[in-house]
Symmetry: C2
Subunit: 204 residues, 2 copies
DNA sequence: AATATTTATGAGTTTTTGCTCACTTTTATT
DNA sequence: AATAAAAGTGAGCAAAAACTCATAAATATT
């Protein structure tokens, strides 16, 4: 488990089936993750779950970390897509409709892969000066979304601070609504209440 | 890494120095955690970081999981202590003072061990019918805290749903304020804004 | 069709890691 | 002081995991 001295480069897939193999491997990790068996995340088992040989895994990933890093990249792209779609559809809607769409998008993301965030946050080292991480990416997207509605907000508010709070509320409750919802609280109720909380905060 | 067939019992420490050894081992895990090097969480390295032999570790912990489980227990007790203290001091205060105290307590907990929650959530399997986990514990404590102020809340609100939302806001922002605060947002500002958000939600 | 390149395989090597146990040292008891 | 019990040690074992490499199959290029 200790970091190997260096991670040799691997060739990148050029043929279609090679790209498919890479996707299959990443999908297998998600499948294991959904089963919740974190200890089954070994390279050999990932290969087995993907239905490819261990050699194929190392054709495209220099080491185990790289598999998680690739998954991280794919997840970021997916979040961008989902959030972007919500923004595109509700760019000119009311603030309430926008927030509702964002909350729903967040719940969708977390429903698809409930444990992914925890895995990535423990397995992916934060890039020092490199690309933006998950929460920064979310912050940027939400900042853009809220900027269109600044006139509806009380004046004299720090936009970054407001977005920081709003992002955490939406993300945490989107996550919690899927994973930690107490008995007697429906998903729909949690969703609506989250929207209420965000709107109450923004208008306060 | 796969689960061993059975985990034999170990003797529990009776002398003072033995209890100290156990604490030293748990502290070492926290120290490694604070360094952020999740891959250094091997039994041998934990022993080395604690300055005890690997044999001593296995005097008191039947397997590696048990170390994390003990840490989990210790963390739950600490959270109970901190939250309980906040409640005791502000049992008859205003709602605003109470929320402020809870937010501060949450930030304190997360400041001490920023990565602990992530580790535990990935390494500790959820107890089937056993003791309550972290978020349930928090929910119970916050429910108690809020119950004293039901008269200040709008009527016709589901207490569990309200506590669910409030707990996630406080926990997530307490955590985020320490770990994911963007540049230009001070800790004090994040704390105050969290209080504002919770109060706005509760009064909405 | 012949050749080159990319992709896939998986048995086997090497490293890591969880854990044991025979033994020593320290503390408690008589 | 003698004896017993508890605590501590660390070399080393067995299992597991990361990763390699010689080889074969599939696809692309000539």
């Amino acid at each position: 488990m200790k970091a190997r001295p260096s991670a040799p480069e691997r060739r990148s897939p050029t043929q279609q089936r090679a790209r498919q193999t890479v996707e299959t491997i990443l999908d297998a990790v998600l499948r294991i993750l959904r089963r919740g068996d974190l200890n089954a995340l070994t390279t050999n088992h990932i290969a087995e779950a993907a239905g490819v040989s261990i050699g194929s895994v190392y054709q495209y990933f220099p080491d185990k970390q790289a598999i998680f890093a690739a998954l991280h990249q794919r997840h970021l792209a997916e979040v961008d897509r989902v959030i972007g779609s919500a923004l595109a559809q509700h760019g000119s809607s009311s603030l309430q409709a926008l927030i509702a769409a964002l909350v729903e998008a967040m719940i969708d993301v977390h429903t698809a892969d409930p444990n992914l965030y925890e895995l990535l946050s423990t397995q992916i080292p934060p890039r020092p000066g490199g690309s933006r991480d998950f929460s920064q990416r979310l912050h940027g997207a939400f900042r853009l979304a809220l900027a269109a509605h600044v006139r509806e907000l009380p004046p004299e508010r720090d936009l970054d601070l407001t977005v920081f709070v709003m992002t955490h509320i939406v993300d945490s409750l989107g996550h919690g609504a899927v994973l930690r919802r107490p008995a007697g609280v429906s998903l729909a109720a949690a969703r609506e209440e989250t929207v209420r909380a965000v709107l109450a905060y923004l208008r306060s």
